[in-house]
């Protein structure tokens, strides 16, 4: 597709607006956080693939930032969802 880059920018802008409205209207709860983290993963992957240009590079180099993104967001989710115990 000719305008992949424009679609990438539009996706990023749309997901950013989505995140902002979730926060702005105070709709954040535990299920929304999961959606927010998934949308952050998609945004990060779009930057990695289409802006950094790693989509057409050997898989190993693309996997490093993808795995980084996955691990960081998973740990953020773990920290958020793990029950808090008070001693």
């Amino acid at each position: 597709m000719e305008n992949k880059l424009e679609i990438a920018w539009f996706t990023l802008a749309l997901l950013t607006i989505f995140a902002f409205f979730l926060g702005h209207f105070n709709t954040i709860n535990s299920s929304i956080v999961a959606i927010l983290l998934i949308s952050t993963f998609i945004k990060g992957q779009v930057v990695i693939d289409y802006f950094m240009g790693l989509k057409n590079v050997r898989l190993g180099y693309r996997l490093i930032p993808t795995l980084w993104l996955f691990v960081v967001l998973s740990l953020i989710a773990t920290a958020y969802y793990l029950p808090i115990t008070h001693y």
Binding site: L5, H24, V47, G53, V72, I76, L82
Partner: protein, 199 residues
């Protein structure tokens, strides 16, 4: 060529050294992101209350600014990569305009952050106010410094395009600088929801 037969480039764009730097930066920031997320567990109410002080709209606009500047940088790189020996001058000229637009947005980002910091410091908040603000200031100021460095790099690339310095055989420099700028964008994409939105 059919998609499944397309050949992948052996190395990422730009100098390989920048990718080592990028991976190290990702690791460094990940420690701060994860540190923030787990520290929040100990003081959820404090983090949620402190977060209300932040200007979400400013964080949102800054995200749009960074993704748009990243888009402009890709356009600059594309114009250089797609040039022929006959179009070297015009390609450098087009790239310089995209770069200038991206740099303008980068400066706008810095201006907005300075205004946000001024507001925060004006309230008497500093690194030792509480754990939330320690992480907020560490993360955003560290990122701020990366944006400044990115702008210096882009400034140098801009100068080179003005001198028609990129040719069909030599354009690794612009790819290197672009990769660094996209790193700055990628980091902010994680930082924005983590610090400004999630509660």
């Amino acid at each position: 060529m059919p998609r499944h037969l397309s050949i992948k480039a052996p190395y990422p764009p730009g100098d390989f050294a920048i990718w080592i730097i990028i991976y190290v930066e990702l690791l460094t920031f990940s420690l701060l992101f994860i540190g923030y997320a787990f520290s929040r567990r100990a003081e959820v109410e404090l983090f949620n209350a402190s977060q209300l002080v932040l200007n979400q709209t400013s964080g949102f606009i800054n995200t749009l600014i960074l993704i748009t500047s990243s888009y402009f940088i890709v356009k600059a790189v594309q114009s250089i990569k797609n040039m022929t020996k006959q179009t070297t001058q015009s390609a450098n000229s087009v790239a310089s305009k995209w770069l200038l637009s991206a740099m303008f947005l980068g400066f706008l980002f810095l201006l907005m952050k300075v205004s946000e910091f001024t507001q925060i410091f004006g309230m008497g908040i500093n690194l030792s106010t509480n754990t939330f603000f320690m992480f907020y200031l560490l993360l955003t100021m560290f990122h701020f410094m990366h944006v400044m460095l990115g702008l210096i790099i882009l400034g140098n690339i801009y100068q080179k395009t003005k001198r028609v310095g990129y040719t069909t055989d030599d354009y690794s420099g612009i790819e290197t600088g672009a990769s660094y700028w996209h790193l700055v964008d990628l980091l902010w994409i994680v930082l924005f929801p983590l610090i400004y939105i999630i509660r």
